[in-house]
Structures are given as C-alpha cells and as structure tokens.
Symmetry: none
C-alpha cells in the first residue's frame, strides 16, 4: 500500500473563513493522519497561531506549508474539480454526493492529472451561495438529522478518510504484487490445514467423543456435523490442528486410564 | 432513511482508561452526529467534567447517560461481538478488520439481536494485551504509516461514520425484509455466544487442559492464547459453546476417574 500515491499530491483541502484558529490545526492533523498534505486557507478570521499549532500536534508541517488566499476563486483557480462540503445545500441546485462517491471521483480526477479541491465552509454558516456556485458538486456527510453538527475537523477527518481509502484502492489496482509479497513475508501466517489434515482431525475427534462417552446413547452424527461446521468455518491452520489433536490425544489417554480401571 | 434503526440501540462505544476528560465529550459529540447514543466509560482517569461537557456541545445527553464501569470485562459482559480499535495489533494475533468491514459485521450482529461493543483504548497506550484478548477482532483505521496519530475523538468519528453508513444500508435493505425473514426461518441460526458465555467456556477449557495434563510442564499461556484466537475467530454460537463444554465436561470426568485410580 503506497502511502504517497501521486494522486494525493493533486488533492487539496480548502478551509474558507475559518473562525477558530484551533480548527485549522485539528484539520491539519486529520489530513496528515490520512496522508494528505496540501492545505489552503481562504481568508481565515485569524492567521494560524499558537493554539493552531498545539492542536496540529505532529502535523505542524502541513499547517506551516498552508497557502493563504483571499478568495475561494483564487484558491481553486487551477482546479478541474471543486467539491463543496455542506450540511445540505437546499439553496443552490448542485449535484449532491455522498463522501464515498465524492472521494472516488476526486481520486479518479487526480489520478488522471487534474487538480482537485475539497472545500469546507465557516464553522457556523458554511459556504455562501456565491462560493457554492464555484463548486462542481456538493458533498454531504449523512449525519443524524436531529444533530448534524460535526465540527470542522471531524468533517475534514471523514472526508480525508474516504480520500485515503480511494487512494489505497487506486494504488492496489496498480499491480502491487511486490508489496503483497513483502507483506506476506513480514507475517508468516501458518499454512491452512490441508483437507487430509482436517479429516485426520475429525476422525480423531469422533474417536475421542466415543472414548469419553460424549454421546450417551444419542446418535453421534448430529454433534459431529455441528463440530465439523464450526471447525471448517474457523479455517484452521496446521499449528491449530496440531494443538487440537494434542488435546484429543490427552483426553483419549485419560479415558483409557479411566476405562482400564473402571 | 431511518435515523434510529433499532440495531443502533444495540451498538455501544466503549472508551477504556481515557486520560483527557475533553476527549469523552468530543467522542460523545462524534457519536451523536452519527446517531449513536450508548457510551460506556471504563475506569476513566477523571470523571466527565466541565471540559467534557463543553466539548460534547449538544451531545451532553449522550455524555450524561454514559455508563461507568471498572473493567472492560464488565463493560462487555453481555456482548456477543466485541471489536477493539488498535493502531495495529502486532502483539496479539487477532483478525484485523478495516472499519467498513467491522461496521458491516457489527450492524449485522446488532440487527440479529446481539449486543455489540466497539472498544477504544487509552490516548497514549491503547488497549493492553489482556484487553485485546477480550476482543473477537481488531479494527484498524488505515492511517498514514508515517503519522498515524488520529486522536481518540477522530477515531470514534470514523468508526461511528462507518456504523451509520451500515445502519442506513440495513434500513434501506428492509424493503426486502420478507425475503430475509423467509431465509432466516429456513436456517434458524443460533445466537452468537455472549462474552460471558465465551469466558465461561475458556475457563473450563483451561481447567480441562490442566486436568488432562496437556501442558506437561510447558507454560499454559501460549496454547490458551492460540485456542482463544481460534474460537473467537470462529464466532461460536450458543449451541456450539454448549457442545464444546459438554465435551470438556466428559474429558474432565475421565481425568478424574483416571486420577482417582492412578
């Protein structure tokens, strides 16, 4: 999984008229956790300050590199796709996308070489109608209608998360056989048990149930069928089969000891 | 789109050992924006305070209704699915789910009547190995490997968002409820075992391994850890737990007979 897919370099997060400097820091942090680095601030009420940097935590580089513009038009001048996040845009007739669909389209455009902006409005009042007119579509996070007040950083987090998933999807579609092979080597999972190994285990399980008198006169088929289903569903590996067969062997040994002395 | 799908009532967010009271408020807000209401606090360093309520904003009801427990085991005792959010669990071999897959499974279980917990650890140190042992699977937000420090509320926001999407999906699928009900009647799947039922089984399994002298001087932890992983992965239902405990009881009986006559 490539963390810095080239398309990520063409995605920018634009915050318009941010009122609380802390939110610019939290947004920078949310972006960086998802591998995004390009932040644009349009006419923030205050410039990033100490509080912003405190909340940015390790994402002070993203905040420090933020570009400051006077208008949204300036911030997205070179963009071929501009998506505006809104609580719900009844006022302007824009196509309304869910975050997942928006991220997929944004990454597809960025992957094809286009500059793409995701735009977030003011904490209290969102984007103006004029600002929404600059957007190609709106993005709506499907929040609880009775309480839809995601804070700004939370909204940036959700959209950045969807962008990251879309970027990882795009990267994995690009023939990452090498990465997969490396990952497999890092975590040498035990081999799944073979059919023969599983059947050996099931045969010993059936013998053990007899030996410890589990069925007590009932037909054995029903319990064995349920146990087979359980263990097949679990996808046992060879080590697990070894452990389970060890347990069965010990139970059989106890039954033999008990029986020989009964 | 039904905002209060009944399955949402069976989903709880559990915060373990939270260090900063503000984060409990931000988490409550994140939950409520996504239509979730049940918050459980396990041994928080401080009880929710003024700062918590300030950050909860309009979600003070969620915070005020939060249940406080002393241990994670207590918090999830009645849960049939427990998912632990981790930065990445190299230490404990748990199945690792992406948030989307985790949310789909959680909502499917909750829709079938099971109580489900999503568990978030301490800000700095996450969940302990013992706490992860109580989980059926881990959930990993695929963050930027170079900067994966989502804050607690951001992680709760991402998971709550995925839960909401899954709940909306489930609600929109209920046009086909009749077909589903018919299918369910054909194969009346048993309820998944609860946390307490599973722990009862594991305790008896440990006792049985001792009784049949499975360990033979080796430390018991390693085998038990592997067995826990296997059975948690299998997603045992109540009937399967009953069968397995029956087998253990018979093996214990044999060991007692063998021992009394050794």
């Amino acid at each position: 999984m490539n963390p810095s897919h080239p398309a990520a370099q063409r995605l920018r997060i634009v915050l318009v008229g941010t009122q609380h400097p802390g939110n610019m820091g939290s947004a920078a942090r949310a972006m960086k956790t998802m591998g995004l680095a390009r932040l644009v601030l349009v006419a923030p009420e205050k410039r990033p300050n100490e509080e912003s940097y405190a909340l940015a935590a390790g994402a002070d580089d993203v905040l420090g590199d933020a570009v400051i513009c006077q208008t949204l038009a300036e911030a997205v001048a070179d963009c071929r796709m501009v998506l505006g996040c809104t609580a719900r845009s009844r006022r302007v007739q824009l196509e309304e996308l869910m975050p997942r669909e928006a991220a997929a389209r944004a990454v597809a455009q960025a992957g094809a070489g286009a500059e793409v902006a995701l735009v977030f409005g003011r904490e209290r009042t969102g984007l103006t109608n004029d600002e929404l007119q600059l957007c190609h579509a709106s993005v709506h996070i499907p929040a609880n209608p009775d309480y839809s007040s995601l804070n700004l950083a939370a909204a940036v987090q959700v959209l950045s998360y969807e962008l990251r998933l879309a970027l990882l999807d795009a990267a994995s579609g690009e023939g990452n056989a090498d990465a997969d092979a490396a990952a497999a080597q890092e975590d040498p999972r035990e081999l799944p048990a073979s059919h023969a190994e599983l059947e050996g285990f099931f045969a010993q399980l059936a013998d053990t149930l007899d030996a410890i008198d589990f069925h007590k006169g009932r037909a054995p088929e029903s319990a064995m069928r349920k146990l087979r289903r359980l263990y097949l569903r679990a996808g046992l590996d060879v080590r697990e089969v070894r452990i389970l067969r060890g347990i069965l062997a010990d139970a059989q040994r106890m039954a033999m000891l008990a029986g020989s002395k009964r």
